[in-house]
Each structure stands twice: as C-alpha cells, then as structure tokens.
C-alpha cells in the first residue's frame, strides 16, 4: 500500500515538475504587471504570447547588438512572431533606443518619472522574457554574448 502511494506521489511530482519547467510563476513579471497597470494602464496578456524586454538604466545596457536583435524581433515583415505582443520598458535615460526601433511593431513604455524601482523592477542588465498563455516561458539577461544566444534561439543571426 505504502509502496503504491510512494510510486503514485513520485509520478504526480514528476508530471507537475515537467509542467512547470516551461511555464513558471514569476515574481518579476508580477512586478512588471503592477507597474504597467498602474503607470501605463495596460496589463500583460493573459492568454497570448508576448515578448517583454526591460532595458536597464545601468552600465552598457544598450549595445548595438541588443538594438539589432530587437529590431529583428520587432520587424513587421517577419511573420514568425506576428502573434506575439512585443513590449519594451525603458528608462528615460536610455530612451534613445526608441529612435533606433521606430519602425518596428514593438510597443515602448518609457519610465519618465523614475518609477520602475518603486515597483521592484531594477535589473542590473537588460532582461528578456517570453510569455506563453500569460505565464513565463523563458527569461534571460540580454547582455554581451547572451544576446547572440537569445537571438539564435529565436532564429536570428546578429
């Protein structure tokens, strides 16, 4: 009886682990959602796919590489990610990035009042999130060689 219970528990645990490895709850996304809803009156998509990029206000955060990747990701003629919402949150001291990505289908949310940190959003490096069905599917820092890795993952070469 005990053996059966143990096997069953193990199976349930493994199944649960597999389910959550792709889609995770993220405290970071909760903070981003709170910021977007309070300051920009929007929320992260509940059921859709989305890319969320948070540009850091810190050292070397916006390299040409990052901009190139974002412009490819947001290219309107690229149909692969047409179903994704693309959001970029950017501190006002780094807002020059917007000029470089004017013609993309990315939506920019500029943090004019230096409010990001109030919502617990303070990344030392740019952060990249992919959401599926409204939950976190993938995240990584967009920094140095990581930019190449992430770009490759989504089929872009920088």
């Amino acid at each position: 009886m005990l053996k059966r219970f143990f096997i069953l528990s193990t199976i349930i645990f493994i199944c649960y682990s597999c389910r959550t490895s792709g889609e995770q709850k993220s405290i970071e996304l909760e903070h981003i959602n709170m910021y977007l809803s309070e300051k920009h009156k929007i929320t992260l998509p509940n059921n859709n796919k989305a890319f969320v990029v948070v540009i850091s206000g810190n050292c070397g955060s916006c390299t040409e590489k990052t901009i190139k990747f974002l412009s490819q990701l947001g290219d309107k003629s690229n149909k692969t990610y047409a179903g994704y919402q693309k959001l970029v949150i950017i501190p006002s001291n780094n807002a020059y990035v917007i000029d470089s990505l004017k013609n993309s289908d990315m939506k920019f949310y500029t943090d004019e009042g230096y409010e990001l940190e109030k919502y617990g959003i303070n990344f030392p490096r740019n952060m990249f999130f992919e959401l599926k069905r409204g939950t976190l599917y993938y995240k990584d820092t967009l920094y140095l060689e990581k930019v190449d890795t992430i770009a490759l993952k989504y089929g872009f070469k920088i």
Partner: protein, 402 residues
C-alpha cells in the same frame, strides 16, 4: 517549580537582550561627539540659478571647481556632448564647451550615455592655475591647458606595470577623487584580489615628473577586514579635493569613521562620525558566483552610505553627506536609492558635530556638491525634483556662520 521556570525565563530574556545589544554595537565604529559650542553656529541657505546656454547640462556627476582672479568656476563633464563645460559660478554664467571629440586626444568613442565607465571621463581636477587633469576611463591621465592642448599624457596601465604594482591605480569623481597632495597626485590603488588576511595600501601617490608611484601606509579599515570585504557596492574609499594643508582626510563609504593622515609625522587619527539615527556601518553581504546582482542593489538601499569628507577652508569646518539606510520593501511597493534621506553633517576641526541635518527628500542630487567662498553648493537637480527646470543649473548654497 513555577519559580524556577520564571527564573529561567528571566535569564533567557536577559541573555536575549544582551545578544541584541551586542549585535547592534560595532567595536570598530567610534561614536561622534557634539561640539560644546554647536548652538553658536547658524546655518543660512541661499540659492543660485544659472540660465543654461545651448548644450550645457543641468547636472554634472564628474566635475571639479577652481578659483581664478577672484571668480569661482565649475568644470563639468558633459557626456551627451563629449565635452567639458565651464561655468562661472560668480557671474552665474555658462562660459564655454571644451569638445573632447574634436581633439586628436580622443580617438576612442566616449559613451554618450555615460553608463559605460570604460568609455568615459571618470574624474577631473585642476592642477596649478591653468591646467586640467582628465582621467580618461582610468586608462590614462591627460594634462591639458584650457584650450585642450596636451601638456602631458600618463598611461595608467604602463605606470602600474613599471612600478611593479599587482593591481592598478584609478580615480572616480564620485568617491576616490584624484587630488594633488604633498606635490604628488593621489590615486586609488586597487587589486585583482584581496586576501583580507594581510592589509594592503589603497592609496598611491604619483610623482608626475618621473611617474614613480609611492604607496601610502593607508589601507581599508579594520571593520572591512573583519567582514572580509563583504561590503557589497559600498567598498569604496572617499577622498575629496577640499583638504586642509598638511592633512589628508578620507573615509570609507561603508562606515561612519573619519580618518586623518598627517604628512609631517605619518600619524593616522580616527574620528567618530556617527549619525544620530540610522546605521553607521554596512552589514556584510555574501556573494556567490551566479547570485542575482539585485541582491547587491537591495543591500545598497538597506545600508547607509557615507560620502567623502570636505574641508571648508573659508569657515574651518568639515562637511560630510550620507544616505541613510531604509527598508527595501515599502508596503506593496519598493524603495530605491532615490528614496534614501540625505543627511548633512558639519564638523569642527576636531570633528565634533556642529550640525546634523536631514535634508528634504527628492530635492538634491547626491554627489554633486562643492565648496567655494560662498559656501557649500548642492545641486538641486534630483531626478524626482518637482521644481526641476531643464533650462537652468541650480544649486542651494549652505552657509554656516558663527
């Protein structure tokens, strides 16, 4: 039976109180003393608002000041334009830009956002009457005249190598400012690794004639060695260009003590500089490879940081600013470094406290302050200042009189 239990309870509470008391007391921190005549000092606050000419900035993080022909000037590094801006403080007038990228001196692109310090001007100081010393990315020092003509260049990496330094020498306008001292240029000596077993010098004096470096017998404080360097972002030495002749006054960002080195007999005196509220030393933070750096940011918010100590030769007092520790969590929100109260402490020459003032929040820009005969200037260009004017550079001037 109940009596015995009560006795145990009393002993337990007493031990607990004792432990709490001990945890808060740091044997490395010296308490400050209030000056007997503190009440005799009066503080007056003035302000100056300088209309900006095109291309000038409202705030300079890397800057220096100098006096010439009875007039006071500010030189600030303007990263957006890659130039040095000269402002006449006496006449409240923007004077000129010195464009660094228009000279052959700067072939490497400077970071226009001033976020990447390896492509930025990290420090500026005025040497003699008319020479400006520019620290370019902590790689080289450029001694130039007021038209940016090169007088002499110093390769900081080559200097470290030629002097058999295990590390490098650097300076930042925000903490360890390079300064002329005893006919030499003081720089911050850093190492690739610290053992925390043996004390090493963190001050190096550069003889600008023969490029020889001499170590000063000044290291990080006992407290940092006690916590084996685990001070997070706050492991910095603070020096100021405003020094009393014959003395070198410095401090550390991670503790309230103030240190004074006397050249004449090479003696070091440690003074207490504790604030009456808030923490007076950094709490250690563990860092393992792979840790989220956000941990350090939170630590930075939750610890007091002490800025450099400046001597006011016109009023014979010392000033020191600090950002008081606060909780990171603020209800459902979070506090940032911008939410930390800025405290100004004014000391007499014996480092007794004359004034301790918590300045209003969201007014002042931490780290943009300087002294001239008018008083202590503090930039009022805080990022969250509601009265921020993009067309003016504004300072409040604190004047202490007796």
């Amino acid at each position: 039976m109940i009596r015995v239990a009560n006795l145990y309870l009393i002993i337990f509470i007493a031990l607990l109180l004792c432990a709490c008391h001990k945890a808060d007391k740091n044997i490395f921190i010296i308490n400050s003393k209030v000056a007997d005549d503190a009440d005799d000092y009066k503080l007056k606050i003035d302000s100056v608002s300088i209309p900006l000419k095109e291309g000038f900035d409202t705030l300079y993080y890397t800057y220096t000041t100098y006096a010439q022909q009875n007039q006071d000037f500010l030189i600030g590094y303007n990263a957006k334009k890659a130039c040095l801006d000269i402002i006449n403080l006496t006449k409240a007038k923007c004077v000129k830009h010195l464009f660094l990228n228009k000279t052959a001196l700067f072939t490497q692109k400077l970071d226009r956002q001033d976020l990447d310090k390896s492509k930025s001007i990290t420090d500026i100081t005025v040497i003699g009457n008319d020479s400006i010393l520019i620290n370019d990315s902590n790689n080289r020092l450029l001694l130039v005249d007021t038209n940016l003509n090169l007088i002499k260049a110093f390769d900081l990496n080559a200097i470290a190598k030629n002097n058999n330094l295990p590390g490098r020498v650097i300076s930042y306008s925000s903490n360890f400012r390079m300064l002329e001292h005893d006919n030499k240029l003081l720089l911050n000596q850093i190492y690739p690794q610290y053992s925390w077993e043996k004390k090493v010098s963190v001050f190096s004096a550069l003889d600008m004639k023969n490029e020889k470096l001499t170590e000063l017998p000044l290291s990080f404080s006992d407290y940092l060695y006690e916590i084996t360097g685990k001070g997070g972002y706050l492991v910095n030495v603070g020096t100021s260009e405003y020094q009393k002749n014959g003395l070198l006054t410095y401090n550390y960002m991670y503790e309230s003590n103030i240190y004074q080195f006397k050249d004449k007999d090479s003696t070091l005196t440690i003074y207490g500089g504790t604030m009456s509220g808030g923490s007076n030393y950094v709490t250690p933070i563990e860092y393992k490879g792979g840790d989220d750096l956000k941990k350090w940011d939170i630590h930075n918010v939750e610890n007091t940081q002490f800025f450099n100590v400046m001597y006011d030769k016109f009023r014979n007092v010392y000033y020191r600013f600090s950002l008081k520790n606060i909780d990171y969590k603020n209800g459902k929100y979070f506090n940032s470094i911008l939410d930390k109260p800025l405290v100004l402490m004014i000391f007499n020459e014996k480092f007794e406290v004359i004034k301790e003032i918590t300045l209003p929040l969201y007014i002042y820009a931490p780290n943009t302050w300087f002294i001239n005969k008018q008083g202590l200037y503090i930039s009022s260009a805080n990022k969250k200042n509601k009265f921020y004017a993009p067309d003016k550079i504004k300072f409040h001037i604190y004047k202490i009189t007796r």
